[in-house]
Amino acid sequence: MSELRFEDVVVRYGHYTAVDQVSLTVPAGQVVGLVGESGSGKSTLARAAVGLAPLDAGRILLNGEPVPTRGRRRPLQMVFQDPYSSLDPRMTIGESIAEAIPPGSSRAQRKAEVERLLELVHLDPTRAGALPSELSGGQRQRVALARALAGRPSVVVADEITSALDVSIQGAVLNLVRELQRELGLSMLFISHNLAVVRYVATHVAVMHQGRIVEQGPTAQVLAEPDHDYTRALLAAVPGKRNH
């Protein structure tokens, strides 16, 4: 059980402030959904958490300690949005996953772990030798998910992980995310633009708009009684509401 806390985080690209004074807590063993449009800074916040974007101000703490962004043990893992870019085209999917397994296990253990993880994400374990180019987008994203889990993380940042997936797989991944989170006590920052998905997965939701968090609270409350105009606009845009 680990708590991830953002304290007054600011990330700037040149003169552009992508993340502006964001404070957000992902409580231990909870899923916080982060919604907002592209350019609102939610992906930058995620990248800052795993050390891919330098902070200009503020702190990101894991159980009160700064998140380790050096060394081999990374308790914070991230799943990227684009499965076409997040897997090395020259490495087999088995190698990609094995690379993220913490060191100290034997070759056979790694192989077994890769197979277990592939099975976990609904991929045929015998395809560990396949290259990403042989897989569909949905299959690639499942490999990316397996790779993140290979690091045995205590917190997972999921950046729009289902937006490139088929609905049938999306359901399976969301079920997987929920179960894993519950059984393994994972804390999770779940970034998505799909409110129905966030509603299903997250216990808390934070709405990000132009680099700031404009509203946050328990999911049911925010979705039922949105305070901010932007949250209301998001709710109005959920497809399928205007049925025939």
Binding site: Q77, S86, S168, A237
Partner: protein, 642 residues
Amino acid sequence: MRRWRSVLRTPLGLTATVLTVGVLVLAVVAPILWSDEANAIDTSNIMAGPSAEHWAGTDNLGRDIFYRTLVATRLSVELALAATVVAVLVGLLLGTAPFLLGRRAGRFVNAGVNIAVAFPGILLALFFAVIFGVGATGAVLAIGLAGAPAFARLTHTLVAAVEGRDFVAAARVAGVGRMRLLFRHVLPNVSEPLAVNATIGAGGALLSFAGLSFLGLGVQQPRYDWGRLLYDGISSIYVNPWAALTPGIAVIVAGLAFNLFGESVAKALGVGMVGAIPRLPDEVVETTEEPAVDAVDHLGSDLVLDVRDLTVTFPGEHGPIRPVRGVSFAVRRGESVGVVGESGSGKSLTALAVSRLIDDTGRVEASRLELLGHDLRAGDTSAQRELLGTSLAMVFQDPMTSFNPTQRMGGQLAEVARHHQGLGRRAALARAVDRLRAVRITDPEARAHQYPHEFSGGMRQRAMIGMGLMGSPALIVADEPTTALDVTVQQQVLELLADIRAADDVALVLISHDVSVVSEVCDRVLVMYAGRIVEDLPAAELESAARHPYTRALVAAVPDMTTDLDRPLAVIPGRPVDPADVPAGCAYAARCPLASARCRAEDPPLATEADGSRVACWHAGEPIEIEIQDRELVELEEVEAS
């Protein structure tokens, strides 16, 4: 490896390869075979012209120049390769230093490289030659170091491009160290262009060597390379021109060989898979598998699109792959048809086939493929291009890659009107601005002068739709138009499509994996699975009256704002069918809770029901027991145990 082999398939590539291999073989064997002839001193026959005995004459000690040129191949090639190795190693070191050292230190290295690149290579070589002294070693270092900055710059650029990709970020997050990142992820992905440039660099080094030796700064007596022979021969050029010409020709041939080889490899790699894919045999595939289709009313004058028995075939490693297997549907004027299915179901290929955008490796066949009554199977004629260009608008998933990033938006839209409607520059631009306004882009005059990267994703997608509206389309084919967009923007784009359809009676084919999007916009929905339409029904009945078990599973799998949070989402067990390995019988049988022996043996035809909807299922409409304890949970228990 396959792509490298394709180098040999062009005449130039073949010639270059043969020449390069020839030079290398000569470099190995010439000193073994002809050293004695080359070093034999014949004082009675010095500075002689060409003769039957000495083809290129003799030098001032009576040695045979032709044999000396052949033997000099080894030293010349050796030195050139050594210099190339120096250039590549130093270049790699400098080029990857910014990646390893981080941003601040990397900037210094880059600045140094940038300054070094600005100096002419030969000047650097002369400078280093003076430092390292006259001789072969000095010349190798000089030419190698002179070539290093350019190579460093190239390496840096390539590394920076790969560094920005997510897989490097993912490896970083996984805790992979910089060195391992470099050797496992970055270098393998830049190795091909680097290898090609090293080959071209070897040709350049060969020429530079000849130059240095010719200036007397390179190889010293008694050793000799081509440059040295040239240096010796030039003094007697009026007595025996061949003494200088022979090594000169050798330099040119070898230099050309390396350069052309590098160029043809670059070309082969750049073009991609050309020549590597087996061609499809020219047999005609019978497409009359589905006579039941005639039951659909394809007649009537208001048909915009009429497709029957459409198949798309691609060559595969183990025989042809058919991702679209006999698709028949029709779209009426103003009608909005959704196509849903998982990735690999053939929905996008169906759209591409209709738009005639399947590339040359694939083959599109149909017993009928008509747009506004015109047969599209005719092939790539100007009349067809005209028809497709003005009557059909295509909207792709990724609006960023649909536009040329170096051209202004207005110009790109205007091009359509200038090309297809023959408008002048001014009139075409005016129409472009008008169309941008029609797709609700604010301040279209100013926006038309901007570049694609200055548009947001939603705006680009609207501009893409605007581009389709430059003509007067009767049909808009939108392939996952909102998948890359935010929900609020998605809503705007969908509303825009709906409004255009209502205003101009334009038909819409909307392809999406998202059932909720399709059910919101479309009148009718085609559900595709494994390259076939398995159900065709009114969108309003999608949630209530779908009859195919796959359709019902798809609908149940999408969470909405009323989904029960205490139960797992419905999932479709198993995996989608691989188009290369479609099972006998119903393709969905393996994942279907209703599947019986008949399903596994016999593919159900797409049967038309009394109300005009179509379904391909032996058990259409039979109740399905909702099973929550599915495969998904079984696997999760394993996780828990481990």
